[in-house]
Symmetry: C2
DNA sequence: GCCCAAACATGCGTGACGCGCATATAGTGC
DNA sequence: GCACTATATGCGCGTCACGCATGTTTGGGC
């Protein structure tokens, strides 16, 4: 094996991706420290502002989270990943949330409700969001976070619409469009000075992303 | 000034972003070395495959491009950026290409033609594309590359549809949806074993991303 | 054709980071 | 309780991004 990615990191990612509410005490602790690290990273980043992002040292994040720098690196392999982890986890929930909507609900309505539930409940922190979406060093990781929503979302869309395997492409494109709408809505909302509810911007943006007819019915 | 980003790098980025065909010999040379570095980076990455990406050292890229490692760093601040630069430049052209389409053409047709012209002419290299889109280390930068198309694309959409400033959100969402469609089409095309033309996959994907009615007309 | 200022390429040094390896410790199944 | 496994941490190495200083090329005014 030439490139052996850190075994502990891999294990962490696998668990986080598959399980949501671990019964195991070990896994619970891991999720706790993971959240501690990511929230500490985000907090420190916000304190420094987008300009001084590079002043946030790994050692600072680790000590703020109460772990050793090496442990920090067992969970995240870059500052950017740690800072954006919160939003990545948020995005990952979208597919599941959509599946939990009542079955009879129209697709556009269900999607809008799920998105609002995942991203606008509660109203996101303007400063934190601005940090993540404006700092150029974080752009890549932020986009990865939004993109993580797409795969489960596409699966959920396929399930809901009863789309056959030949509609895979359609579902994936729609999932991508929805994720893009959420992202654009975020930027738009950050640019507004008036006190608009993020949920309203989201619904408006989604109007342009979700067609009236679903993949299975056209 | 606390964080002084490398002045030379900034100058490079500005020129590249604003000018497309520099008349100045200096700028021409810069673009040449820039392309030399990025193509060398992509070539070496392809040679090693997605697994051995980290074996591609900066020194290798620099020597393959015939420049010093320090010069490499004047143009790109990470391997990933260098590897994805080709596709980023490609994506940046999309807005301009759309504006060059005949004025009478229906929107969906014009968009499809522009996308095909930018991304499927000539048929992209399967291996190179697979490298960029599958290697997890490159995901962030690859997403940034696709996202770069959105801003000029949204402007071009607004111009073409005669959308007013109140339709900004709609145009941005549509641009995001188009970019997502291109990305998804790329993944889909890479997964196909049959020899399907990438252009066909693109057109199919765009059918789900571009609504029949444009923002200004709904 | 010549000279000068600006732009550019390169060398060197520094601070930080990612991560493999080894070890101490805490949680788990029997 | 005990053996076992997963996790936290310390240490060290190789690599990288980038500021600074310097040599080299380019373009323009005369």
């Amino acid at each position: 094996m030439q490139i052996t990615r850190d075994a502990q990191t891999v294990a962490t990612l696998l668990i986080v991706e598959t399980e949501e509410e671990p019964r195991d005490l070990r896994a619970r602790n891991k999720q706790t420290t993971r959240q501690a690290i990511s929230t500490a990273a985000l907090r420190l980043a916000v304190e420094q502002g987008p300009a001084g992002l590079k002043l946030v040292r790994v050692a600072d994040i680790a000590s703020a989270a109460g772990v050793s720098p090496r442990t920090y690196n067992n969970y995240f392999s870059s500052r950017e990943e740690a800072i954006c982890a919160v939003h990545a986890d948020q995005a990952r929930r979208l597919g599941r949330t959509l599946l939990a909507r009542p079955a009879g609900e129209p697709l556009a309505e269900a999607v809008a409700a799920s998105v609002v539930e995942c991203f606008a409940t509660p109203e996101p922190d303007r400063v934190g969001l601005a940090m993540i979406m404006s700092a150029s060093e974080l752009q890549g990781e932020a986009l990865k976070a939004f993109t993580m929503a797409e795969e489960p979302l596409a699966a959920a869309l396929a399930e809901r619409t009863g789309a056959g395997p030949r509609d895979d492409l359609a579902c994936q494109v729609m999932a991508g469009a929805i994720a893009a709408a959420v992202r654009v809505a975020g930027q738009y909302w950050l640019g507004t000075t008036e006190r608009v509810a993020f949920a309203d911007v989201l619904r408006e943006a989604l109007r342009y992303a979700v067609p009236a007819e679903h993949p299975g019915g056209s």
